[in-house]
Amino acid sequence: MLASLAIVIGSLILIVSVIVLNGASSLSLEMLTQTSEGSFYLGSGGGFLNAIVGSLLLALPATAFAFIISVCIAMYLQKEFIPSRFSSFIRICLDIMWGIPSIVYGVFALTIMIALGLHGGSVLFGIFALTLLEIPIITRSVDESIKVVPHGLKESAYSLGSTRFETSLHVVRRQAMPGIVAGILLGFGRGIGDAASILLTVGDSNYFPTSVLDQTAALPTIILNLAGMPEKTVQNKAYAVAFVLLLIVLSISILTRYFTKKSSKYIIK
């Protein structure tokens, strides 16, 4: 048992240390402050600021949309709004969506994109694919925390004359806050790190995107591109990018712990 624990912890430490050791040594300030002017892939200067911005431009709106949609769904799944047969049907659909590999969402968005006559890729459809990916993740987290809201609390809100929507908006929302926060951050972390869905939909670019129909670079996709390059010096840049991505994801994980702790202060049990 200790051996298996050691394998699990060891593999995590191995992965983090490989990325940190290789990434920190090849990372430079220049890489973080410049866009990749085409020569980035050829071994000379340039940076990946455009990929960082691109990743944020994809993940932030996607998380925002997914957040609104997920909170609505999770609130609606309460038994005041909907009979339990429908809610279990919706839950099964969401479970299936949770299990669908992200590349399938990528293919879905790509197919729609081709049908609309767009080629190469665009930010908009990247956001679309990521939103689909994040909806089940956030919904599950919010739903779990709404399920444990004590019934007496809701009933006392109703007995004071508040409507279903007001109760959801003011009472249930506050009780479910840790789940909502955790869901948003989980979804964001998953969205910013997911390569498969945006690989197919956003294309690649060396500059900042200027419109929602532009192609853009993103952190996971340029890691993939860099790792596939033959030269060793270029490959090392992949570790620098991965280091930045890992830093973002780790800080999200820490933020999640902090904010869930903070927001669970106001919960009435």
Partner: protein, 352 residues
């Protein structure tokens, strides 16, 4: 009185945010020169203001809010079914060209001569997923048991964040690590150990290794959850009749949390089955069944990732990739339904 005040605050807030969005819209029109974005923002602002004037009674507010949530739910359900329709429709083009039996049971993947056989890829996918589960399941189960039953509280509180972090690491980072660490190890030590000297390291076995690491956190965290929901009295009863701790784990905990463990394994399987990027970085990307585990292969998901760039030049290829996505979707669907049924049966049998 109080409610009127509260709704006044809400009105003021939403009015201010509408103004803000309006300003953003004007900015995006004149600074970014992006008409589409400006229109979207304008629409949102107008909608906010409209809603603001509409809220005359709390009753109307309640009805509108509920309707809005219903619309969102229906929208997502519609998207879900649209996904199915798009996948079915897209693969229909290929099915007119080639029979489904030929697609699934011929192993010649020749996109340039418009022949698509997926047999080799399917077999590779099954092999990779099976090996990764064989590695991951025992290790994760033992770790979960250790965390819930044996570890002192302090150690437990230290391990949990580690598992959460492992769950959040992006797949492309796993792939990168496998490229640097696992490939040389497999090429230089593991493959020769099993008598294969010609392996490049880009092989099914490396892919299974990295997949099993990716599956650890899913199985562990779900198992820990279901282990710790077992009532204490059940464990104490077992211990009080003289069972050792390990016997209790084996006969009481595993059995009582059987459904939870099963669904954890199902979920882990789903993740391993559909993982794309990490696999495509290390598997070697050749559509054939290798003679040993240390030869290159291709899985269904990595097939899509490696071929999508040529979609524009070969029309049928797009349809073929959609068909592959459809297979992935159907397998996930079947697994979910199986998991649901097994869970229902199991929770009836393993009742406590």
């Amino acid at each position: 009185m109080h409610i009127n005040k509260a709704s006044a605050v809400v009105k003021k807030k939403s009015f201010l945010s509408a103004l803000l969005i309006l300003i953003l819209s004007i900015l995006s029109l004149f600074v970014l020169k992006d008409i589409a974005l400006a229109l979207i923002l304008l629409f949102v602002a107008v909608a906010l203001i409209a809603v603001n004037f509409l809220i005359i009674s709390r009753r109307l507010f309640d009805v509108l809010g509920t309707r809005f949530m219903l619309i969102v739910v229906l929208f997502v359900l519609a998207l879900f079914f649209l996904l199915i329709i798009v996948l079915l429709n897209g693969s229909g083009i290929l099915l007119e060209h080639q029979s489904i039996g030929d697609l699934l049971f011929s192993s010649a993947w020749k996109p340039f001569s418009n022949h698509f056989g997926l047999f080799a890829v399917i077999i590779d996918t099954l092999i990779v997923t099976a090996i990764s589960m064989v590695i991951a399941v025992p290790i994760s189960l033992l770790t979960a048991v250790y965390i819930t039953e044996y570890a002192p509280t302090r150690l437990r509180n230290m391990i949990r964040p580690f598992i959460d972090v492992l769950a959040g690491v992006p797949s492309v980072v796993f792939g990168l690590c496998a490229l640097l660490v696992f490939i040389p190890v497999v090429r230089d030590y593991i493959a020769p150990f099993f008598g294969v000297v010609t392996s490049s390291g880009f092989c099914l076995f490396t892919a299974s290794l990295i997949l099993s690491i990716m599956v650890f956190p899913i199985i562990i965290s779900l198992c820990v959850e279901s282990f710790s929901s077992i009532p204490l009295a059940l464990k104490e009863a077992s211990l009080s009749v003289g069972a050792t701790k390990w016997e209790t784990v084996k006969k009481v905990i595993f059995r009582a949390s059987g459904p939870g463990v099963l669904s954890a394994i199902f979920l882990g399987f789903g993740r391993a089955f559909g993982e794309t990027i990490a696999v495509s970085m290390v598997i070697g990307n050749q559509e054939l069944i290798p003679r040993t585990l240390f030869g290159s292969g291709q899985t269904l998901a990595s097939l899509i990732a490696n071929n999508y760039t040529e979609v524009a030049s070969i029309p049928l290829l797009a349809s073929a990739l959609i068909f592959v996505a459809l297979i992935l979707f159907v397998v996930v669907l079947i697994f979910n339904i199986c998991g649901f049924l097994v869970l229902r049966r199991a929770s009836k049998r393993w009742k406590y």
